[in-house]
């Protein structure tokens, strides 16, 4: 990149053309549950860590689908794996294992 001495502020628009679909599909192959989320927010609502810091499985899944994997990892950084999200998820997503997998695949 040529440094012009100034920069454009990055667009806040999500660019789906640039989202890394391959990586997401490989996650989905390992964790088919990731495709089941209907974004009800139960997980974030009951999240133990979420009471202190921005933590949300729902948002992390959405971020990954939008190609924002750094955001996704950040949203799960504070997770204590307490399992409340697994218990309340109406779609029966195994959130705990999903979280571990996202951290392992995208966390590097």
């Amino acid at each position: 990149m040529i440094d012009f001495g100034f920069s454009f502020s990055p667009s806040s628009r999500i660019n789906l053309d640039k989202a890394d679909k391959e990586k997401f599909l490989s996650l989905a192959a390992l964790e088919p549950d990731v495709l089941k989320c209907m974004a009800c927010g139960s997980c974030s609502a009951s999240c133990t860590a979420g009471a202190f810091e921005d933590t949300s499985v729902r948002k992390a899944i959405l971020s990954l689908q939008n190609g924002l994997s750094d955001d996704a990892v950040k949203l799960l950084n504070h997770c204590m794996l307490c399992g409340k999200c697994t218990m309340v998820c109406p779609r029966g997503i195994n959130t705990r294992h999903l979280i571990l997998s996202i951290q392992k695949i995208y966390g590097k």
């Binding site: 504070h78 204590m80 409340k84 218990m87 705990r96």
Partner: protein, 630 residues
């Protein structure tokens, strides 16, 4: 007292025992000698390797424990009861216990008594390898000739004892053969599939003792014999005449022994030699640190592959999930199959029933956790917020909880408000001063992280909670979730603050007369939560209380045999459908005596059982509340 009779061909001991071979050697001993030498070298190398992989601290701990009288005595007792008598199997399945003790204890006595016999009657042969001490006592009957006229009472007693012991072992072998055909007769629903080495070792083990009987039967007219071998000899003579060619049976006997020892390290029978080491290490207080090395290796080789864990595993309700049982986990670990072991380790509910029922006491849940640790401990995380959270929480509690009970509901109890409400009602009704630690925001106890193998992360939450609890000045920490209870008891250092489960507190309050309950006519059954029962050993307190508020019925499996509800935090990969199946089987066990209601004392069990039970399901605190005398 040894003197020569005929130059140096026949030697005679005081009992009139004569060596039939000048150098006490015959080629047939070779297979045995090769086998026993191999196993001894293998054992030595294995021992060195296990000790090498222990941390320095653990090695010292182990060494010290050997000289501590209390531990040393426990070691002897455990080795005697577990390795020889198999008391643990006796208690649950007497016939199976008899089978094991007959083979193990019987064989052990055969060796010991055989050596004593040699020591008494042919003392020369216990000195030095060249004199045949390695094999001589084993094949003693082959090498000697006793003049029947010189037989003493002392000798006859040994003949009797040795034959009796052989019969004892043979009865065990007979049962073992029967068990192969019909395992259910000995109380086992599932048995493991033996590997090739297992088969070689198994069949040679089966043959060793019948062949010994044959071989000693053939020589009984020369070496003397007891009530088994002597009549056998008469039969042989009647069939084959006086000139018995008995060498082939001794060869066969020796080959079977040799084969058994050669196959042993690659078969399940390695447990016979490893179990004593495991006992020493366990009694020294060592813990599994790595999933395949050090202490874990001793655990892995001590597994007898008996398959009792197959019947124990709650996943056995679906045949497809039998492969996740501990016996296969250990088998794949032994074979260094990384893919399979990881898969099995993640699937496990960590309910601990296989460990509780294991006759050897192989702590496979601990190994599974250690394996998860290698996968998950290094996941990046950010727990800096916990410090702030714990300061805030400390500040709100400061000065309020001094000298009182501090109630920690835990994450899961917040999803079962009936537990929190009932616990608070009981505390108020019995006039207990308490403070609520996590009414609004709480920090997880750390047990779920621990179970997922994220030990370092768990330590962070432990630190944060410890600080809140210690600074609150409380005297008692009350928890309503057994998952929390387990880690509070094991991993937290709370400066003497008592950690107590609500079932224990209620039991105490009733005994102290602070809480008065009346008995209803309802028939109930109690489900033992894994972490509370097997995890913390709390079986009696809830039963004490429940039998004073209702009529307590029995489940078909309870206490340490209780079937996990399926909602355990232990599993990482088990899916909802499989969990539901396990919940169903747990409920079926609970409904054995058709109770009106099911009671449990864990928020997870409560939810799981409610999802499957046809009868009302209540929490322990809830049913106590219903029966408080106003």
């Amino acid at each position: 007292m040894i003197y020569l009779l005929t130059s140096n061909i026949l030697q005679i001991s005081p009992e009139g025992i004569i060596d039939r071979y000048p150098n006490s050697y015959n080629h047939f001993v070779l297979p045995f000698v090769i086998g026993i030498s191999f196993i001894l070298v293998y054992l030595f190398i294995g021992l060195v390797r296990i000790l090498y992989h222990l941390t320095g601290e653990d090695r010292i701990k182990l060494l010290k424990s050997l000289f501590k009288p209390k531990t040393a005595w426990k070691n002897i007792k455990d080795i005697f009861c577990d390795c020889l008598l198999h008391t643990k199997i006796w208690k649950r399945k007497p016939l199976l216990g008899y089978m094991h003790s007959a083979i193990a204890f019987g064989w052990f006595l055969l060796i010991v008594v055989g050596h004593i016999e040699v020591w008494l009657f042919a003392p020369r042969h216990l000195s030095g390898l060249t004199e045949g001490s390695l094999y001589y006592p084993i094949f003693y009957r082959f090498f000697i000739w006793i003049n029947p006229a010189h037989e003493t009472l002392r000798g006859s007693v040994f003949f009797f004892i040795m034959d009796f012991l052989l019969l004892y072992v043979l009865s065990g072998i007979g049962l073992a053969m029967f068990k192969r055909v019909r395992s259910i007769a000995l109380g086992m629903r599932h048995t493991t599939k033996p590997s090739l080495a297992d088969r070689v070792a198994l069949y040679s083990l089966w043959l060793i003792f019948p062949l010994r009987l044959l071989a000693e039967g053939f020589t009984a007219d020369l070496s003397g014999g007891g009530f088994l071998t002597r009549p056998l000899n008469w039969v042989f003579r009647a069939f084959f005449g006086n000139e018995l060619n008995f060498l082939p049976t001794w060869w066969a006997y020796s080959i079977c022994l040799g084969l058994f020892f050669l196959a042993m390290p690659f078969s399940r029978y390695m447990h016979i030699l490893t179990e004593p080491l495991l006992i020493l290490m366990r009694n020294a207080g060592l813990k599994v640190r790595k999933p395949r090395k050090g202490f874990a290796e001793a655990e892995i080789y001590a597994c007898s592959s008996c398959g009792l864990c197959l019947d124990a595993c709650p996943m056995n309700v679906q045949k497809k999930n039998l492969k996740y049982s501990s016996v296969y986990f250990i088998r794949f670990l032994r074979r260094h199959n990384k893919r399979k072991t990881r898969e099995i380790a993640d699937k496990c509910l960590m309910c601990g029933k296989c460990y509780a029922l294991c006759p050897v006491g192989v702590n496979s849940p601990a190994i599974r956790r250690a394996l998860r640790e290698t996968q998950n401990n290094n996941i990046k995380c950010d727990y800096s917020y916990l410090e702030d959270a714990s300061s805030k929480s400390s500040a709100t509690l400061a000065g309020k909880a001094g000298g009182k009970i501090l109630y920690f509901a835990g994450c899961m109890s917040h999803l079962t408000p009936v537990i929190i409400k009932s616990v608070e009602t009981i505390l108020k009704a019995s006039g207990q001063d308490y403070e609520f630690m996590d009414r609004n925001e709480g920090i997880c106890c750390g047990r779920p992280l621990m179970l997922a193998g994220r030990t370092e992360a768990a330590q962070k939450t432990i630190q944060a909670n410890s600080r809140i609890i210690r600074e609150s000045g409380c005297t008692t920490l009350l928890v309503s979730c057994p998952i929390c209870l387990k880690i509070f008891k094991e991993e937290y250092s709370l400066n003497g603050i008592e950690v107590i489960h609500y079932t224990q507190l209620v039991d105490r309050l009733i005994k102290e007369g602070k809480l008065k309950v009346s008995k209803s006519s309802s028939a109930i059954v109690y489900h033992d939560p894994c972490e509370l029962g097997r995890g913390c050993g709390i079986y009696e307190e809830p039963r004490n209380v429940l039998s004073s508020v209702a009529e307590l019925k029995k489940a078909s499996k309870e206490r340490d045999e209780s079937i996990c509800c399926g909602y355990s935090m232990g599993t990482l990969t088990l899916d909802e459908k499989d969990k539901a199946k396990i919940a169903e089987s747990s409920v079926t066990s609970l409904m054995a005596e058709n109770p009106d209601e099911i009671v449990t004392a864990c928020p997870m069990c409560y939810r799981a059982i409610r999802s499957k039970a046809e009868v009302p399901v209540k929490d322990f605190a809830e049913i106590v509340c219903e029966n408080i005398e106003k």
